[in-house]
Amino acid sequence: MATKKAGRKPQSPQPIPLPARPGAVEAPIVKNHTISVLVDNEPGVLARVVGLFSGRGYNIESLTVAEVDPKEALSRINIVTSGTPMVIEQIKAQLGRLVPVHRVTDLTMLGASVERELALVKVRSTGDKRIESLRIADVFRARALDSTIDSFVFEVVGTTEKVNAFIRLMESLGLTDVSRTGVAAISRGAQSI
């Protein structure tokens, strides 16, 4: 039976490119991803997103939420999470399954994006330390929003790394309080999510 057609059948009439085989064992490379989720601005929607992360054991490194389109009542949630590629794929698929979710975008996968975080940093010190804190704030382009004789409140804006670096430096200069917004992120270029 097999020989009947063998003569006129080429190997494959139109070779269809097949996807590469997935590796047998995935190297467990845990990476941070910034995911933007466009959701209906309705009661409980944040609880759904956060509950999904806690219920399925995913990490949240940072989270920001605010309404971005009052006309359509849409909010944007920016989540910085970490996981292996398989876990990140699963997180995105699970988010996409939620009924009030309109769109899920992985800004890290998309390519270039800008990410910013704002922190308010309170430092209490006098003398050399006070002067040093002001000098470092200048280097980081942090603004002093409030000042007393022995304290400053700085506002620093930048990437998470920059904010972390600023806070680390302030630790030895009388750091008392930190309040951070979490990451807001958007893709570079003309395309929107």
Partner: protein, 587 residues
């Protein structure tokens, strides 16, 4: 044109009628009294009064799964809603479309710890596909339509609509389904054409292929089962089914290998392990199926068709994932197959089938026959033999050994006739579920294959069954043990049967009689056939108490933490292969 304003409870019933609802399973209470008042005033929708809200949800599951329609539940606030949680979780795990209407305290009391108040939306958020709290009567009808849409579209699931008492008493406007288009929920139903072509290409060259199909095919509808059968027969590939998929491919077909998984057949599991191409259709690589993940089908390429993108690459990495409605994808796949005049690698398939025949020859379902004691497998074999001539048989089960034996010995040629709690494994599922099936199919033969432990979890529903004259048959394999617990204790805990013996069991014959049903009992093999015949012939509900061997274990079995090719085929294997440390922590 706006219609006359009417009170919320009436808007609700009007929306249910427009959604084609004929039966509701429920239980009244303070917060839902206005809705019950409206139910009293109409006769389009029949209300089935259950005896506990958990029973209502399982009944709606049976109703939904046997008809393909959305099952509807109505319960009151607080305890009514919390009692429904198990059923909702069960429906979520097994993708059963349910709309559960829960009463709620009036909006001005929400958050005040009012009488019979519970945060229903909060409690049910992780155990529903979606849920709503209706705070404005003018959104009520729209929300009901959206709830039905969400429950039945995409991967089906349970949806809760929480209804504060003041909202169902307020006057509002009706919105018809056509004017209530959901904003954001649009699941992908059409599969990607390139992926389908790639899949066909893999199938063309496969040497040891295998179809592995599950409950998603049932959910896609009877058309999906027909197309699946056509595709399997066209290719000539072997086909195995999951517990939830039984019936989607005919059990009588020679290409059918039987159930796969922990208590699946030797031939199925070995074929899963050795295949070079796995075509997963509406199945989700559940841990009961895969066994040890690192040893799962190590040498195969995998195609996965599913409507839920999150099912793909969740547990097992696949080569080609196709998101779409199963029926649509299979139709496209068949079209590509025919258009390209595809033929399979018959030269390679012949030895593959030969290998499968040698596995089949092991006859892994054989069991010890006994002339004095009824073997549980024998009881189910006879139940199947004495009912197989009918095509209106529906089997539901509870959870445990009897469930696995039923899956092995009851054979199904059509979908929607087998109802079991697969994902959540809910003891007490079978009786209310059978009740729901019987409500939808009054003349059918509906049998709940039960264990004596599981049946007691929702035994109160015998009262419902009697009230509505539902001729449900309860077939109890009574071994006086929680059989599966006892089996695992024997395998992993040195036979220390901690709390798994059921003492002080009721007399099931008298219990049946007290519920106005008929009680039967078989204790010897020669009594079995007569009891089964009498049970089937009886026009009333029946509890048949079948006293079976107390010590029999369910085989074949992949012990937890083991691979598909490390099955235990019987007691002899059990002694030789102790469970690994890794397996001990698994469920």
């Amino acid at each position: 044109m706006p219609s006359e304003p009417m009170i919320g409870a009436r808007l609700l019933l009007k929306a249910l009628v427009e959604q084609g609802v004929e039966d509701i399973f429920g239980y009244p209470g303070g917060a839902v009294l206005p809705i019950y008042d409206e139910i009293f005033k109409q006769n389009r929708i029949r209300h089935i009064l259950v005896r506990q809200e958990g029973g209502a949800v399982h009944a709606a599951e049976g109703y939904a799964r046997s008809t393909g329609k959305v099952g509807v539940v109505l319960v009151t606030s607080g305890p009514g809603a919390t009692n429904a949680v198990t059923g909702l979780t069960d429906a979520l795990m097994d993708s059963v479309p349910i709309v559960c209407l829960t009463g709620q305290v009036p909006t001005h009391l929400i958050g005040n710890d009012a009488f019979q108040e519970a945060d229903t939306v909060g409690i049910t958020r992780p155990c529903t596909k979606h849920n709503y709290l209706v705070k404005n009567v003018n959104n009520l009808a729209r929300t009901i339509h959206e709830a039905f849409h969400v429950a039945r579209s995409g991967r089906p699931g349970p949806v809760v609509v929480d209804l504060p008492k003041d909202v169902v008493l307020a006057m509002g406007q009706y919105v018809s389904a056509a004017d209530a288009k959901p904003k954001s929920y649009r699941p992908q139903v059409k599969g990607d054409a390139t992926s389908i072509e790639q899949a066909v290409e893999l199938m063309r060259t496969a040497k040891r292929p295998l179809f592995y199909c599950g409950g998603g095919v049932v959910n896609s509808g009877p058309r999906a089962s027909k197309l699946l059968t056509e595709l399997v027969r066209t290719t000539g590939f072997p086909c195995t089914l999951t517990l939830m998929g039984l019936g989607t491919f005919p059990a009588s077909d020679p290409q059918y290998l039987g159930m796969v998984g922990m208590h699946g057949l030797y031939e199925s599991n070995n074929a899963m392990h050795d295949c070079d191409l796995m075509i997963a259709v509406g199945s989700r690589f559940d841990d009961r199926v895969t066994g040890k993940l690192t040893a799962f089908s190590p040498n195969s390429r995998k195609i996965h068709i599913d409507i839920d993108p999150s099912s793909i690459n969740k547990n097992v990495r696949v080569d080609i994932g196709i998101v779409g409605d199963i029926a649509n994808v299979l139709e496209d796949m068949l079209a590509v197959w025919k258009a390209k005049k595809t033929s399979t690698d018959r030269k390679a398939l012949a030895p593959w089938w030969k290998q499968i025949e040698t596995w089949r020859a092991r006859k892994c379902l054989s069991y010890r026959h006994d002339s004095k004691i009824i073997m549980p497998q024998y009881a189910l074999q006879r139940l199947y033999d004495l009912t197989k001539h009918r095509d209106d048989v529906y089997i539901t089960t509870e959870v445990g050994q009897h469930q696995m034996w039923a899956a092995q010995f009851m054979r199904f040629d059509k979908p929607n006739h087998w109802l079991t709690s697969g994902g959540l494994g809910t003891m007490g599922y079978g009786l209310p579920s059978a009740m729901g099936v019987q409500v939808a199919h009054p003349d059918a033969l509906v049998i709940d294959v039960a264990g004596e432990a599981s049946i007691l979890m929702n035994i109160q529903e015998m009262s419902t069954i009697s009230q509505y004259g539902l001729p449900v048959k309860v077939f109890i394999l009574n071994n006086e043990y929680m059989g599966m617990v006892r089996q695992w204790q024997e395998l992993m805990h040195g036979g220390r049967y901690s709390q798994s013996y059921m003492s002080s069991l009721p007399d099931f014959v008298k219990l049946a009689e007290s519920f106005h049903a008929v009680g039967l009992r078989a204790t010897k093999p020669e009594e079995l056939d007569d009891v089964i015949r009498e049970m089937i012939a009886c026009p009333k509900a029946v509890i048949a108490d079948i006293r079976v061997d107390q010590k029999e274990n369910c085989f074949p079995m992949i012990p937890s933490g083991a691979a598909h090719n490390e099955m235990l085929l019987g007691p002899a294997d059990q002694a030789q292969k102790p469970t690994s440390e890794e397996g001990m922590v698994l469920v």
